[in-house]
Symmetry: C2
Subunit: 162 residues, 2 copies
């Protein structure tokens, strides 16, 4: 009797990563420019082995990319704010386009609840912030709050391997 075929076993189909991958993710999250050699030394593996693991994490979509953590304040953007945006009737798409095209908006979420959007924006001054918010106010009800401080960098949730 032939052995029953198991479906092709994708390593991440069960959303499970092992401890080595978890360590890799944590290390690269702390410093995405670590060399594969250093990473290998860190976890006791050869550079090609970790390199292939990183590549697999990329193709599996776990690692979406490698990015910069920029301090917008050091660039002169003294103000950070969160703006909840509730477009007027039939203005949803227009407002979303406006949000996307506003360069001071560095990130936004489409959310459930009364306000469909939450935008994170930066500005060089309260005046600039107000100008940006005013452009939204032409087509939406907005609610703005200034960020006093933040957790410094977005961190990883628990990574539990088998």
């Amino acid at each position: 009797m032939s052995k029953p075929k198991t479906p092709p076993r994708l390593r991440f189909e069960s959303h499970q990563i092992d401890k080595v991958d978890a360590t890799i993710l944590e290390a690269l999250d702390a410093d995405a420019r670590l060399s594969m050699a250093d990473l290998g030394r860190l976890i006791g593996m050869s550079a090609p082995a970790v390199s292939e693991r990183v590549r697999r994490l990329e193709t599996a979509g776990v690692i979406r990319g490698f990015s910069l953590d920029v301090d917008t304040r050091a660039l002169g953007y003294e103000i950070r704010a969160l703006v909840r945006i509730r477009p007027f009737p039939d203005k949803l798409h227009l407002v979303e386009k406006l949000i996307q095209e506003t360069p001071q908006v560095i990130e936004y979420d489409r959310i459930t609840g009364d306000d469909p959007f939450l935008a994170r924006l930066v500005a060089r001054s309260v005046e600039e912030m107000d100008e940006v918010v005013k452009t939204f106010c032409e087509h939406a009800v907005t609610s703005t709050c200034v960020i006093k401080s933040s957790s410094h960098t977005r961190r990883l949730p628990p990574l539990h391997g088998p």
Copy 2:
């Protein structure tokens, strides 16, 4: 007559970066693992030159670090949510500590307005999300909304050089 002494001119004291630095930031923001050699070819400079510019951007605090963009969904966290948190009287510090110690909270902001905190959390299910929120509810009034979708990665604001 002796030349009047100009104060030591820090490049970023005026929060101004030149076009080359702006290009470097944009390129590294898109792919933080670009080699200095590639970066140099991109902007028409030698590798040591870009390397030093990147180092200066780091010491100036413009570049805070190099990080990973991880898709939490690929790790099994199906739910992302934003929770506004208003601690009960005298519970502000306790709640902030709780927020910090909750591993599903990947980021939070201290903000102005009625709700002092906004936390971004991930969860493997609605049930897990509810469990996390419940722990906050013991010491605070909360308001939760689920994220339907997001702008994919946080982008840079305008970088205008001289």
